[in-house]
C-alpha cells in the first residue's frame, strides 16, 4: 500500500515509514501544502478530486519508473482528496536511496510526474470566484498541450 489516495489528513511519518530500509543513507520527502497567495490572489480553500482507481495505478507507475532509474530507490506517495484549507497537506512523497543526490532527484521526478499523468484535479476557491485548475495554468505544461504517448504508459 505504498501508493494511496486518502480522504483523511495525511500522517507524514507513516508515509516515511514505508521507505525505511537498511541500505538507505537518505530519505527525502516532498510535502505539498495549500498556499494562501498565488500571484497576489488569496485562496480560501481547495477541493481535490481524483479518478481514484486510475490515480493509484499512475502513482504505482511513477514508483516503478523511479525504481528503474535510481538503483535501490524505494518510494511511497499519498495524495489527499476533499476539502483542504491553507497549510493543509495535499501530497506526501517519500523516497529512500543509498545516496543523497538520488533521493533529491528521484523525489523531484515524482512530483513532476504527478503533475503530468495522475488524474487528480484541484478546484481553487477564492473570495469571489472558483475554478477547476488544469496544469496548462501551471509552470509545468505538457509538450504540445498533452502528454506524449511515451509519457502515458510504461
Amino acid at each position: 500500500m505504498n501508493y494511496q489516495i486518502s480522504k483523511e489528513p495525511i500522517d507524514i511519518q507513516s508515509v516515511i515509514d514505508k521507505v525505511v530500509q537498511r541500505n538507505a543513507g537518505a530519505i527525502t520527502t516532498f510535502i505539498g501544502t495549500v498556499r494562501e497567495l498565488t500571484k497576489g490572489k488569496k485562496t480560501l480553500f481547495l477541493i481535490y478530486d481524483a479518478y481514484e482507481a486510475m490515480a493509484v495505478k499512475k502513482l504505482e507507475q511513477i514508483g516503478r519508473e523511479i525504481e528503474e532509474r535510481w538503483e535501490g530507490a524505494q518510494v511511497a506517495i499519498t495524495h489527499r482528496v476533499g476539502r483542504l484549507d491553507i497549510t493543509d497537506i495535499a501530497v506526501v512523497i517519500a523516497v529512500s536511496t543509498p545516496h543523497r543526490a538520488d533521493a533529491y532527484d528521484a523525489n523531484r521526478y515524482a512530483i513532476e510526474r504527478i503533475k503530468e499523468i495522475v488524474p487528480i484535479w484541484k478546484k481553487e476557491h477564492w473570495e469571489d470566484d472558483e475554478e477547476w485548475m488544469g496544469n496548462q495554468l501551471e509552470t509545468v505544461a505538457y509538450p504540445s498541450g498533452k502528454p506524449e504517448e511515451s509519457d502515458l504508459n510504461e
Binding site: K115, I117, I120, E138, K146
Partner: protein, 77 residues
C-alpha cells in the same frame, strides 16, 4: 453498454459523475464528437481519454463493457 466518467469542469458541464452510453465499436474520437454534440462540453481538444483506467489514443476502438473516462489537464500535487 459503457460507463463514461467525467471529472472537474467536465463533470460540472455534464451535471453527472458518469453516463451510461453504448459506445462499443466507436473510436475515442467518435465518442468525443458525439458527446460534444449532445452536451455542452468545453475544451475537449485538451482532454485526454482513459479506457479501463489506462490512457488511450483517439483511434482506440471502444469495446462493450469498457469504462471510459475523460481526463482534463490534471492539477494534483
Amino acid at each position: 453498454m459503457n460507463k463514461v466518467l467525467f471529472f472537474a469542469h467536465l463533470r460540472d458541464a455534464v451535471g453527472e459523475e458518469f453516463l451510461k452510453i453504448d459506445a462499443s465499436g466507436k473510436t475515442v474520437a467518435e465518442l468525443k464528437v458525439e458527446l460534444v454534440r449532445n452536451y455542452n462540453l468545453p475544451k475537449l481538444d485538451s482532454v485526454m481519454t482513459a479506457v479501463n483506467e489506462e490512457f488511450a489514443q483517439d483511434d482506440e476502438v471502444i469495446q462493450d463493457g469498457d469504462e471510459v473516462a475523460f481526463i482534463p489537464p490534471v492539477s494534483g500535487g
